[in-house]
Point group: C2
Chain length 201, copies 2
DNA sequence: CTTGACATTGACCGACCAGTCAACTACTAT
DNA sequence: ATAGTAGTTGACTGGTCGGTCAATGTCAAG
């Protein structure tokens, strides 16, 4: 049972990396198995199909995003709006490091898969949609808190949080297409305007 | 020569639709040829490879975007900032109609291909990058004009235009992943905040 | 009427695709 | 000790992948 979990986890990890750095349709089951050092027959013992693996990879990627980004950014050691700024900094630092290591900006794993698969697999689309919705929550909470604290005038926190995260997705498309993590920093600066429309300069 | 151009054009049109509604890696050369009613041997008379076809498709898609969206939105019959609002309306109307016809929101053809191919084909990445850069220009021009007219305080028009178009890309990712064109309208409302930071409410 | 360029065709290539399966091994609970 | 379960293996399927090629067809300029 320990070994089984380990095999399954190795498959997920291998797929996560390959699909993120390439794309779902470009990476085959065989290649995933090679990287995970698992025979293909064994793969189908753990996953009924390739798309079920993609679903598991999405769960895994969401967990990683929380560990490495969201749970680090949204800590109440600093004011709520500063946490949002910290979010952008962490995302920038992450992609800057990845670019240094690999030469590439790979963008957002959820946006990537959403763009590739949303019109082709309803389950994958729904799971990505759910992850995006969930990702808005920490922003929404920070915005509400900022309003309560008086840092922000009355705001529709849910709508604004959604706008911010949509902007984040757009930034990731841009950074990936230009293969330049600096765009995350430069475009990130404008995110505050999405938040504080009433602020004068 | 007429017939030759026609064959080439049929291939491009077929590929444009198939790649836009599915993805580059999911659609094969054979399927493109079937839809274009062209034999595969003939395909390779016009295109040295599938990726060269993708490059041609990108050119075609850019031309279509100008005809159907940009050149309709950015006409100086209305004030510059109203043109940007009109851009969002046209994009919304387009995707609303496509959703009605096909059941799907397909997002942005450039963002889609950029996400899928940027780390895999440098020529495609550069072409998408170029298209995004070019697409910012009408926004930049409108913003500059708005500043000149006094509709807007002094602004870095280039940086703001880029932020807006990045936001547009994010909106398209969201609309595609939620398969809901209404998101374009709802999120589009917030774009003005990217433009007019100093405006009070 | 001939030449040469362009266009078209279908057969073909090796590689790979997702997925199947029966046989086998290793371990666990009784 | 044994029966049952979970995990592993490698051979296999039918189909598709991007791409090649030689033969043939078409047509216009000289």
């Amino acid at each position: 049972m320990e070994s089984s979990n380990d095999t399954r986890q190795r498959i997920i990890s291998a797929a996560q990396e390959l699909i993120y750095t390439r794309s779902y349709n470009e990476v085959g089951v065989q290649e995933i198995c090679n990287r995970a050092e698992v025979k293909k027959g064994s793969f189908y013992h753990f996953f009924p199909s390739k798309r079920d693996l993609a679903l598991a990879v999405l769960d895994q990627s969401q967990a990683v995003m929380y560990e490495t980004i969201i749970n680090r950014a949204f800590v109440d050691d600093i004011p709520p709006l500063a946490r949002i700024e910290r979010f952008f900094t962490i995302v920038y630092d992450f992609h800057k490091q990845v670019k240094k290591d690999t030469g590439y900006v790979f963008g957002c794993p959820f946006g990537n898969l959403g763009c590739e698969m949303s019109t082709r697999d309803e389950d994958i689309r729904c799971k990505v949609d759910d992850i995006l919705r969930t990702s808005e929550k920490p922003f929404e909470k920070a915005l509400s808190e900022a309003v309560t604290r008086g840092d922000l005038p009355a705001t529709d926190a849910a709508a604004t949080a959604r706008a911010i995260f949509a902007y984040v997705e757009g930034i990731m498309v841009y950074a990936k297409t230009r293969n330049d993590p600096e765009l995350i920093r430069e475009l990130g600066k404008h995110a505050l305007q999405l938040i504080i429309p009433a602020k004068i300069q």
